[in-house]
Point group: C2
C-alpha cells in the first residue's frame, strides 16, 4: 500500500513519534486540516455493517448532499470513498494532455495527473485545469472565469467553512467536476467519504471506475445524518472562525506572521519553518512544512484540550 507520507499531505505522526519520542496517542497532530471537534457518530443500524450498502441508503445520502450543497439540477453527483479516490482516477477521464495547476497547492492533483502521463504546467492554454478553492495552503479563492477548460476540476475540500464562496453554479458547465470532502469539515477523515459533482458523463464514467458499492454502509448513514444537520454546520463554522483567530493571535505573539489559510488550517511565515516544526515536535506537536518554501509553516486547529499545550510549547 502506498505510504501516506510519500507526498507531503500530512498524517506523518507515526514517523514523527518514532523520531521525537512519545506515545502516538500523546501527540497533537496539527499537520492536517481536519476539524478537531468532529460530528458525533450516531448509532448505526446493524445492517450498515452487515449488508451490502443498499440503494435506499445511497439515495438518501445523495439527496442530503444535493440539498446541503444546493447542487444544480443538471449536475450529477457521486459518493466516493474519500476525495482522494476521485483525485487518483480523474486524469483517466480524458485523453492525456496538458493540465494547468497553479502552485503552490495541494500536491496530490499534480502527482496523480503526472502519474497518468499528463504534462503539468503553471499557466497557459491547457486541456485541463485544477483549482483548489479555497486553495491549500494559502486560502486563495479563484474567480469563476478562471476555471474554464475542457476538463475543469474545482476542489472544494475546504469550502464548507465559507459556503458562500462556492463555485457550485459551475457544476453544470460541461467538463466540470467539483470535489467535496466529508472528512475535513465534519472531522471524520477515517470514514472515507467524499463527493464528485458535475458533468453527468464524467461522473458516470468515474462511477464505473469505482465499482457498484464504493462507499461503506456506516459512511452512507453518518454522511446522510451530518449533511442534514444544518444547525451543527452553522455552529461549527462560527466555532472554527473563533478558533482560527485565537490561533493567529497565539502564533503572532510567538513571532510568526499570518499569511492566510482557511479556518481549518492557518498558514504562517516564520524565519525558519523547519526549526519551528522541530521545536514544536519536541513538545510532541506535529505541524506541516513545505519543501518549496522554507519559511512557511501550516497549523491545523488544536482540539479543545490542546490549546494549553500549544501555548506552552510556543512560550
Amino acid at each position: 500500500m502506498q505510504q501516506p507520507d510519500q507526498r507531503d499531505h500530512g498524517g506523518g505522526v507515526d514517523a514523527a513519534a518514532a523520531r521525537f519520542g512519545g506515545q502516538r496517542s500523546e501527540w497533537i497532530d496539527l499537520s492536517t486540516g481536519i476539524n478537531p471537534a468532529p460530528y458525533n457518530v450516531p448509532a448505526l443500524p446493524a445492517g450498515a455493517w452487515t449488508a451490502l450498502p443498499d440503494a435506499a441508503a445511497q439515495t438518501a445520502l445523495l439527496a442530503a448532499a444535493r440539498a446541503f450543497w444546493q447542487v444544480p439540477e443538471g449536475a450529477a453527483i457521486l459518493a466516493v470513498p474519500g476525495a482522494s479516490s476521485a483525485i487518483a482516477r480523474i486524469p483517466a477521464l480524458a485523453p492525456k494532455g496538458r493540465v494547468r495547476i497553479p502552485s503552490p497547492t495541494y500536491n496530490e492533483h499534480a502527482a496523480s495527473f503526472a502519474e497518468n502521463g499528463w504534462q503539468v504546467v503553471e499557466a497557459g492554454e491547457t486541456d485541463a485545469a485544477v483549482h483548489v478553492h479555497p486553495n491549500n495552503p494559502d486560502g486563495r479563492l479563484w474567480p469563476a472565469t478562471e476555471t474554464t477548460t475542457p476538463l475543469s476540476i474545482i476542489d472544494e475540500s475546504f469550502c464548507d467553512i465559507t459556503p458562500s464562496a462556492t463555485l457550485m453554479a459551475q457544476a453544470t458547465t460541461p467538463g466540470t467536476l467539483i470535489l467535496k470532502s466529508f472528512g475535513k469539515f465534519w472531522g471524520l477523515a477515517g470514514l472515507r467519504l467524499g463527493f464528485v459533482i458535475g458533468d453527468p458523463a464524467l461522473v458516470a464514467r468515474l462511477g464505473q471506475m469505482l465499482g457498484p458499492w464504493p462507499v461503506s454502509g456506516p459512511a452512507l448513514h453518518i454522511g446522510a445524518a451530518a449533511l442534514r444537520d444544518e444547525t451543527w454546520a452553522e455552529a461549527t463554522r462560527a466555532r472554527l472562525a473563533t478558533d482560527a483567530t485565537r490561533l493567529d493571535t497565539m502564533m503572532t505573539e510567538a513571532g510568526a506572521q499570518t499569511v492566510g489559510g482557511t479556518s481549518l488550517f492557518r498558514l504562517y511565515e516564520v524565519d525558519d519553518a523547519l526549526a519551528w516544526q522541530t521545536r514544536l515536535a519536541e513538545h510532541h506537536i506535529w505541524t506541516r512544512i513545505f519543501p518549496y518554501n522554507p519559511r512557511w509553516l501550516r497549523l491545523g486547529l488544536p482540539a479543545p484540550d490542546g490549546w494549553a499545550r500549544l501555548e506552552q510549547a510556543l512560550a
Copy 2:
C-alpha cells in the same frame, strides 16, 4: 451512482419489498452469499473515525491478512474498499485484448472487462483469464494449471470456507492477482473491505489507481481483529457447513435438487425458478435466480431466527 441491481448481483431487497410489500426490515435476504452470523464489530478507537487512516493501522491489517491467508513472501498485498473496487479497475492494468471467463460465473468480471473494451470469450488462447474459485453459483473448483495466462485473476471471494482449496501458491506467478473478500465470510459486507494479492507491479499500479487512503479506519481495525481470530474462523466454517446441509435437506424435501455451491450459498435445480422465487417473495424471503438458466435457484443461509420462516414458506 450505479444501481446495485443493474447486474444480477443480488441485494435487490429494496425492489422486492416495493413489489411484494412488507417493511424492508421484515424481509429475509437470501439473495446474497453473505454469512448471516457476522463477526462481532469490536469497540473502535475514536481515531478510527476521525483521523486519516494511519500507516501503522494499515501495516497491522496487511500483516494479519498475510498470516491468515499464508501469502507467499514474493507476493504483494493491497487492502481495497471491497473486492468490487478491484474488479472495476483490473481490466485497466493491461492492454485491451481477449479475456477468458468460463461461464456461468459471477458476471461482474465480464461486465467490467467489456466496459473497458476487452473481448470476453469462453475458451481458447487469451491475454487474460478470470476464474472464480470456488465458482459462483455452482461451487466448481479450478485446477491450478488452468489459470496461466499473461493476466490471471483468481477470485477467491468464497474460498475462506474451504481454505485448503486456495490457489494462493500461484500468487507469485507473474501476472497473477488473487482476490479476497472480507464482507462474505465475516458477514460485514457494509464495511467495504477486500484484498488483492499477487504480482507486485500490478498490485502497485492498482494501489495508485485507488489513491492513498482507500480503506476506512473502521475497516482497518475490524479487519485486523477478525483476521487474527482463527478460532472464530474455524467455528464459523463448521457452523456454515452444518447450516448448508440443513438447507439442502429442507430444499430437497420441498422438491428441489441440489446442484452445488459453497457453504455460504447453495444452488438448486427446480422446475420453474421464477415461480419458486415468487412464492418465497410472497413470504418476504428474497432469493436469486439467473437470466441464463430458468431452472436454477440460489439461496444464501438464513440467520438463526430465519429458518422457521423459510420452512413455513416452503411448506
